[in-house]
Symmetry: C2
Subunit: 204 residues, 2 copies
Amino acid sequence: MPKGQPTSVPDDGLTTRQRRQRPLLMVHTGPGKGKSTAAFGLALRAWNQGWRVGVFQFVKSAKWRIGEQTVLERLGQLHDETGEGGPVEWHKMGSGWSWSRKQGDETDHAAAAAEGWAEVKRRIAAEAHDLYVLDEFTYPLTWGWIDVDDVVAALTARPGRQHVVVTGRNADPRLIEAADLVTEMGKVKHPMDVGQKGQRGIEW
Amino acid sequence: MPKGQPTSVPDDGLTTRQRRQRPLLMVHTGPGKGKSTAAFGLALRAWNQGWRVGVFQFVKSAKWRIGEQTVLERLGQLHDETGEGGPVEWHKMGSGWSWSRKQGDETDHAAAAAEGWAEVKRRIAAEAHDLYVLDEFTYPLTWGWIDVDDVVAALTARPGRQHVVVTGRNADPRLIEAADLVTEMGKVKHPMDVGQKGQRGIEW
């Protein structure tokens, strides 16, 4: 609904243009489908604007997001070759984060998640990306692996013009409070309810 | 949640594999963000699987989805050049549908919408695409420009292995009933509520 009108105009001393350009903290939560998929759709738009996209996957999985990763990394390669769009970095927990030399021993998922968040914080301080996709980031928060207050403080105080989208179920109320845009994906009907498992091309 | 388990297994005579491969009718509805964005994220995955992607935009707009269109058409071009991914077609209402010779006079939006749906029906009968994105398709249904029962009949009886995703608010109950997967995007918080208008890279 890009042509919508604000329902109220705040007395914040900003011009409409300044307010419009304000970077957003977005949260996609809820039990339904589309939380991550919509975040990767945002990454498409960001790439198209020439933004520097950084994706950080906080839950280990062998096959999740393979389609999106292939496509976004291909777009990043296009950028490097032709200058189209923006650069793309994709990092995931699993056998060590992509930027990390540490590989292999991944038994301590809590430590790996904390390491991932520490790197995201460093990048935010350095204004390394224009859009951060923190995929499935609510889970290590829920599990107590990463401190919610630290996350909210770092995201709220982020410098410059950096957009952030966090995905995952059960987003902490403090994160929701801090966010500019929150969408709750509700499950109305899902094929698993009638015995259909996920399939290639749709789920990954 | 690709690794989830079905909560029940139906007595439909299908094997798990057959059931898994069953093509899906998906609906993204509700007042929140992410309905179309998630559909375009699905299109990314589909492209990556080599599927033939057809996007049909049912609401005229000068700037909506420009980012997604540019990226998906670029991916379609990559397919044509290198064989990577699948072919992409993007058609929109506006100054005539892309496949139509008729251009210019677009005063009759209802007729244009009906013409678009007639073409989608022909393509479904011909199994022209593996994924159809019918973007903002709920609106011409709500406005009575296209007959809901005709849509449900054609989508339910579609041959072969064609996936369809319909986006838009207020999906008709008959469409929801016919769908395999329905996600309701709920608005929890939106920047427009505090006077921030949409911005480039995020909204389009």
